[in-house]
């Protein structure tokens, strides 16, 4: 059993929801990313998505665009990200999903990427610009290597298409909660519940909801509708702001712990906000 599946199974047994966090690799530095991952796991994250920075992130809002540019300026490459994960894997067992765009993988070489990512301890991949129509050219290598190919369902995806996507899905299903790019709009709870209800019976995989969840209150409200929630831009913004002045780890860990408590139902304070400096 892979780490992703095992983690969701444990959570289900405990009656809890998964907290998936997103970090842009190399922002502010790859070393910082390496220390953030175990710290966020200790603070309650179940799965970490490592963003592979790309020059043209057309599905991302301003926060992750800026993080990607900083990471690229700092010399972050896929090689270095995989080396960081491999080294982290000696002590850290959190499921890791690489999140990004196709061209850096193509540039690395799809066959070589599949072998190296699996050997480094990557568990899943999520390639935002690789819909099922185009994914065979990558999956012919990554599926046999044991990398879960995580599929996206959007608010615009019709049931017939969702069925097709879910036939080939692995790991978990990523439901995009807003019609938009990452981190720019607040999700509407009712619509999400309705949409998930429609495709839920089509799959046995866990469903995680992301794009636009930025506060513990939203996390608490959305978690019951799915098996997990993803928080990206809010965390990336916090890391960017605290990282300028020093170590981003304490603030990021504190925010993650707040999200954890919120989705575990330990606090239900709608006024709770991430500890952003004003």
């Amino acid at each position: 059993m892979g780490r992703i599946e095992a983690r969701f199974r444990t959570l289900k047994q405990e009656g809890r929801k998964a907290l998936v966090v997103y970090l842009t690799a190399g922002d502010p530095t790859l070393q910082a990313t390496a220390s953030l991952i175990p710290a966020l796991e200790a603070a309650g994250a179940d799965i970490v998505e490592i963003g592979v920075p790309f020059s043209d992130p057309t599905a991302d809002g301003p926060v992750i665009q800026a993080a990607s540019q900083r990471a690229l300026r700092g010399g972050t490459t896929l090689e270095k990200i995989l080396a960081m994960i491999a080294s982290l894997r000696r002590t850290c067992g959190i499921p890791i999903v690489l999140f990004g765009y196709y061209n850096p993988l193509l540039g690395y070489g799809t066959q070589r990427f599949a072998a190296d990512a699996a050997a480094s301890g990557v568990d899943g991949i999520l390639v935002v610009d690789l819909p099922p129509e185009e994914s065979d050219e990558l999956r012919r290598w990554t599926d046999p290597a044991g990398l879960a190919f995580i599929s996206l369902i959007a608010p615009t995806t019709a049931p017939k298409r969702a069925r097709r996507i879910l036939r080939g899905a692995a790991g978990f299903v990523y439901f995009i909660s807003v019609t938009g790019v990452t981190g720019t709009a607040a999700p509407r709870i009712e619509e999400i519940g309705h949409a998930i209800g429609k495709f839920r019976p089509m799959t046995t995989l866990p469903v995680a909801v992301g794009f636009g969840i930025s506060t513990p209150a939203q996390a608490a409200a959305i978690a019951p509708l799915a098996d997990g929630i993803v928080v990206g831009s809010a965390l990336v913004r916090l890391i960017a702001e605290t990282g300028q002045r020093g170590d981003p780890v304490p603030a990021a860990a504190a925010f993650t712990a707040m999200l954890r408590r919120a989705i575990d139902g330990e606090v239900a304070d709608g006024r709770m906000r991430p500890p952003l400096p004003e």
Partner: protein, 385 residues
């Protein structure tokens, strides 16, 4: 294989809907008649195929014809495509259109078609291009379009397209994205090619009438490649007709400052399609440069990638200096100020014609007029009174 539909899931249903709507429209003779009507009554087609006698004489070789897309409404070939796409948008019930633009020619052409059909129009344009092409920014605003400045990246065409795609993701339910070149996710490359191929169909008819035979060589500039494909496509089956696409070598192919994706790029995926791209060894897309803002794009239409690989067309690159020489030469010899984009094609004709026999025929696609470039030329100080 080139092309494809490498797009975010949120956009996939819209792309599939667009494909079926376009297929139906293409089969519908009423749609074709309507499109053709606008091309003739509104955009001023057919554009002339003009024999450039003084340029031909000066070069002493092949006879040069110019396909005068610069004489069409809005001053470039871009109007062919925007009329087609806005008609399709209307047919699909979309009331809002968006577009990216580099030089502003596609932005102006989209704003024009949107005004004509009473649509809300938003144009994404890099801040650097807004500065370089102020004249076209005013034209778009006069036409009622909102020009949205894009500060990301190098603030040029690639970034404008990124931002247009992001906006489209958030507004996809009621908004039609009018892509300006033969790039983007399927069906855009095919659709833009079809709308632009009126250029080649006319040129073929005109040259047959004039010369009683097909030309020996077609020359067109290639940024994304829409004017070139528009000219080339109807001639593809006629194998004796050679075709050359001219990319921008900028400050030189040995520098980072060029836009020669085919000549100096590698296969990759950007903006929804697989094609030749300017990129580093890590798959990060490089910034393109060209003196002509309309060529300033790090990718190229996937059909050009295929034409290059099959050898049906060949691709060369012309540097800034040589393009400016072409610009001046055509202005002085023929009284036609070409767009700096088209001047790259003119420059290659100047390079090629002298070595060809006098009974050979070249058609150069003069894709746009050069009023917008007067300031760029003035700043170089090469033309003095």
């Amino acid at each position: 294989m080139y092309g494809g539909r490498y797009a975010a899931e949120t956009l996939m249903p819209a792309l599939l809907e667009l494909e079926s709507a376009y297929r139906a429209a293409r089969r519908d003779s009423a749609f074709r008649r309507e499109f053709s009507g606008y091309l003739h009554q509104y955009a001023g087609r057919a554009t002339p195929l003009y024999e450039a006698r003084r340029l031909t004489e000066a070069l002493g070789g092949a006879k040069i014809y110019l396909k005068r897309e610069d004489m069409g409404h809005t001053g470039s070939h871009k109007i062919n495509n925007t009329l087609g796409q806005c008609l399709l948008a209307r047919r699909m019930g979309k009331t809002k259109v968006i577009a990216e633009t580099g030089a502003g020619q596609h932005g102006v052409a989209t704003a024009t078609a949107a005004a004509l059909f009473g649509m809300e129009c938003r144009i994404f344009m890099g801040e650097e291009d807004i500065r370089r092409q102020a004249h076209n920014v005013y034209r778009m605003r006069i036409l009622g379009a909102e020009v949205v400045p894009v500060a990301a990246g190098t603030a040029t065409l690639k970034d404008a397209m990124n931002e247009a795609m992001r906006y489209w993701v958030s507004a996809v339910r009621d908004t039609f994205y009018v892509i300006g070149t033969t790039a983007g996710p399927h069906p855009y490359p095919v659709m833009v090619r079809d709308f632009q191929s009126v250029i080649g169909r006319e040129a073929k008819r005109q040259i047959l009438k004039r010369e009683g035979r097909l030309p020996d060589l077609l020359i067109a500039c290639v940024g994304g490649g829409s004017n070139a494909l528009g000219l080339f496509y109807p001639f593809l089956a006629h194998t004796p007709v050679a075709m050359t696409g001219v990319e921008a070598a900028g400050k030189g192919l040995d520098t980072p400052f060029h836009s020669a994706s085919i000549t100096a790029g590698r296969v990759g995926v950007l903006h929804g399609n697989k094609t030749y791209l300017l990129q580093d060894e890590h798959g990060q897309v490089r910034d393109a440069y060209a003196i002509a803002a309309g060529l300033d794009y790090p990718g190229v239409g996937p059909e050009h990638a295929w034409l290059r690989d099959t050898g049906r067309a060949d691709y060369v690159a012309v540097a800034d200096d040589e393009a400016v020489e072409g610009f001046v030469a055509l202005s002085r010899r023929e009284g036609i100020i070409p767009a700096l984009e088209s001047a790259h094609a003119v420059a290659h004709a100047i390079r090629t014609a002298p070595a060809m026999a006098k009974d050979r025929i070249i058609i150069v696609n003069l894709s746009g007029r050069g009023d917008k470039d007067a300031e760029t030329i003035a700043q170089r100080g090469e033309v003095t009174g």
